[in-house]
């Protein structure tokens, strides 16, 4: 009904909250991409020869590749020569003490509600803050190092733990994996590195907070998490960007390695600038995330709440190599206005008795398009593999789209694979029912949407679940009539 659409419209036309930017003196690479730029970045970061060689190899590979076009997303071709591949705050010389960080940079994070000051933090969450191309600070390092846990920026890890980086970099997402992974491998500037030694249960949540500030600059970070035998870590990432008219590129790579009995829980709350009401600007989010359950009885769990970005192209995946290993994917993807999301997962069952679970909740409003794309692959030797997938779509209004592209590829007859899918429209009846009990329409939509996404939100650590709930409501604000 038209009234319904009106409510939807109001509810989805809320402005983006993190659209501001800050002026700071930056150390920037010239625009464009060529071998010289890659050498420039590598030199800037004082990298060893092997890493420069790795980057150059990635660049050559990337040059041979073509941009993938299979996703259900439409955008003008990206001009890779008009993007800047490195921008760092000038004063951000990495220090051991947070007191030495430029207070201007700390202010950026304070404004985002992320205090890098350890004394001020109430909850025990260690943060690595990445601004444009570099990490500006990592908290709680001393506490963590007592447990033998390494949590630092990628650049530091290259210098301090080259043996680990050399061993694991590109081991889960190889250079040639896909177009954006190859690009990232060539130009990545920073990111987080996390290493949990054997038998250690990480005593606090680890998190990386990404912020793009500079204009015309892409962010290409790399995260590498290595969980040794019988260890456990819960990791979070959050992201925001200023409101700009042009599209900015974000092409990240996340690799997770889980040894025998290890468990890694990776949660994302993605809130990059989604573009304005008319679809102008916004982040192009082309991300490759993959984990390998290398050892028996290991487990990797992805949880994502995707509310931002003009375009989201991302499929956090699990390679279930170890016997009895478990992969999980919980996702809520919200699109509004002219946002486009093509997201899902891949569960690749290689080991015996491996299990995977996929719960995807898409919410589309405005003129947005929201696609779930998932693959469940059971290899020949994966006896008794089991998968359960549930893909639900919720539509708000009549000008948006929801799509589901499940691929199921089974080569072992003992596999048990279940796929459930539903599509529903947020009901006028539901909203009226809430209204009749005195609940305003916007709160009614928030209530209904959060109820719908509950199974996924429940997977997030408590304080982030609350944040995510607010974010969902905010993203959809103005979308119902």
């Amino acid at each position: 009904m038209s009234k319904d659409n009106e409510i939807l419209e109001q509810f989805t036309s809320k402005e983006y909250e993190h659209g501001w930017s800050v002026e700071y003196e930056a150390d920037e690479a010239p625009l464009g991409l060529n071998e010289g730029i890659i050498r420039w970045i590598s030199a800037k970061k004082e990298e060893p020869q092997w890493l420069l060689d790795w980057r150059l190899k990635a660049y050559k590979t990337w040059e041979q590749m073509t941009e993938p076009e299979w996703a259900n997303i439409h955008y003008p071709k990206i001009d890779f020569q008009r993007t800047r591949y490195y921008s760092a705050p000038k004063k951000s010389k990495k220090t051991d003490s947070l007191d030495e960080i430029d207070p201007e940079l700390l202010k950026i994070y304070d404004r985002l509600g992320i205090s890098l000051n350890e004394q001020k933090r109430l909850q025990g969450i260690a943060v690595d803050a990445v601004l444009d191309s570099v990490s500006v600070g990592t908290t709680f390092r001393d506490t963590l190092s007592k447990h033998g846990i390494i949590f630092c920026s990628f650049s530091e890890a290259v210098k301090e733990h080259p043996e680990l980086i050399k061993k694991y970099l590109g081991s889960v997402v190889p250079i040639s994996d896909n177009y954006y992974a190859a690009l990232n491998s060539a130009v990545f500037s920073d990111g987080s590195f996390c290493y949990i030694p054997k038998g250690v249960r990480c005593p606090m949540e680890l998190s990386t907070y990404f912020r793009i500030n500079a204009a015309n600059t892409g962010q290409f970070e790399r995260t590498l998490i290595v969980a040794e035998e019988s260890s456990y870590v819960s990791y979070l990432e959050g992201c925001t960007a200023p409101q700009r008219d042009e599209n900015q590129l974000h092409a990240a790579v996340v690799e997770i390695y889980a040894a025998k009995n290890a468990e890694v829980k990776y949660s994302t709350v993605q809130n990059w600038f989604p573009g304005d009401k008319n679809g102008k600007g916004g982040i192009y989010n082309f991300v490759t995330k993959r984990g390998i359950c290398a050892g028996d009885h290991s487990k990797i769990s992805w949880t994502q709440v995707e509310t931002g970005s003009a375009i989201t192209w991302k499929y956090p995946s699990c390679i279930l190599k170890g016997n009895y290993s478990i992969g999980e994917f919980y996702s809520v993807a919200v699109t509004n206005n002219y946002q486009q999301a093509d997201t899902g997962t891949k569960m690749i069952h290689i080991g015996k008795n491996t299990r995977s679970r996929i719960v995807s909740k898409g919410i589309s409003a405005g003129h947005s398009q929201n696609s779930y794309r998932g693959q469940v692959q059971v290899m020949k030797r994966a006896t008794n593999a089991r998968n359960f997938s549930q893909c639900d779509s919720l539509l708000m209004g009549s000008t948006c789209g929801a799509h589901t592209f499940p691929y199921i590829d089974i080569s072992n007859s003992t596999a048990q694979v279940e796929h459930e899918a539903t599509t529903s429209k947020i009901g006028e009846d539901q909203i009226f029912y809430c209204n009749q009990r005195g609940i305003a329409t916007e709160d009614a939509v928030a209530l209904i949407v959060n109820g719908y996404a509950k199974e996924v939100l429940n997977q997030l650590p408590m304080e982030f679940a609350v944040e995510a709930q607010k974010l969902l409501a905010l993203t959809l604000e103005g979308s119902v009539g």
Partner: protein, 253 residues
């Protein structure tokens, strides 16, 4: 408390209500009866503010305010409660969470402090007894997988929590077995006071054995064609609606 004057309403251009006049005073129970398609549920929906219905003529005053001018949520906050014939399901939202949101929005509108979790729970506990509703049911998703009887009991439970001035029960008896009907009616009776009023919309006289009305109105072709006391309901039960239809046809000629 409620004064409906010459109310006309239509849906998608088709007139359903064609001049309703009704006055309800505090402490009264009014029953609206009538054959299928006479406009009973439409009247309930129009009073609650459902958008599909367009009011084309007439006025509704509630506690001196123009009810038709208020949004559905403000009508609720002013004290109008509709017990739905078909309560909707809201997956993932517990009854408790739903009701607490509702109570606090109503309280905010009335300039009262919100109830904290502890106070709200004790309010729930108190009201749960009234309709013999189980706490387990209230921690489940709202109405999801509830039986017909559970849904209706939950409606009356919500009514108990929200303490409306005017309650409209839309076919609350449909789908209830005799035990559930007694529990629901008992709840409604317990909530009655000299300050609030109830409109019972029903098909059958059965419910009126338990919720005894002060007035009975027969709705036919969008008008109240006959009003009386509870004896009228018994007469309808016995004779059906045909004689009313004939009477109406007679006056029309």
């Amino acid at each position: 408390m409620l004064k409906i004057t010459n109310l006309h309403a239509s849906i998608e251009g088709t007139p359903i209500l064609r001049g309703i006049n009704l006055e309800v005073k505090p402490g009264e129970v009014h029953a609206i009866m009538g054959p299928n398609g006479s406009g009973k549920s439409t009247l309930a929906s129009v009073l609650a503010g459902r958008e599909e219905y367009e009011v084309t003529e007439g006025s509704v005053l509630f506690k001196g305010k123009d009810l038709l001018d208020l949004s559905p949520e403000d009508r609720a906050r002013e004290g109008v409660f509709l017990a739905f014939q078909y309560p909707v399901e809201i997956p993932g939202v517990s009854s408790t969470n739903f009701l607490r949101t509702a109570v606090n929005q109503v309280r905010e509108y009335r300039g009262q402090e919100p109830l904290d979790a502890v106070k709200f729970l004790s309010l729930m506990k108190e009201k749960m007894k009234l309709v013999e509703i189980d706490q387990k049911l209230l921690s489940r998703s709202l109405n999801e997988g509830f039986s017909g009887g559970e849904k209706k009991r939950n409606e009356i439970f919500q009514m108990a929590i929200l303490e409306p001035t005017l309650s409209i029960l839309d076919e609350t008896d449909s789908g209830l077995d005799i035990d559930a009907l007694k529990i629901v009616s008992n709840g409604v009776n317990e909530l009655k006071s000299k300050d609030n009023a109830t409109i019972v919309v029903t098909h059958y006289q059965r419910l009126l054995d338990y919720i005894v009305p002060d007035f009975v109105h027969v709705l036919y072709q969008g008008r109240i064609v006959k009003s009386g006391t509870k004896e009228l309901a018994l007469e309808l039960e016995e004779k059906g609606y045909d004689w009313i239809k004939e009477e109406v046809a007679g006056t029309a000629v």
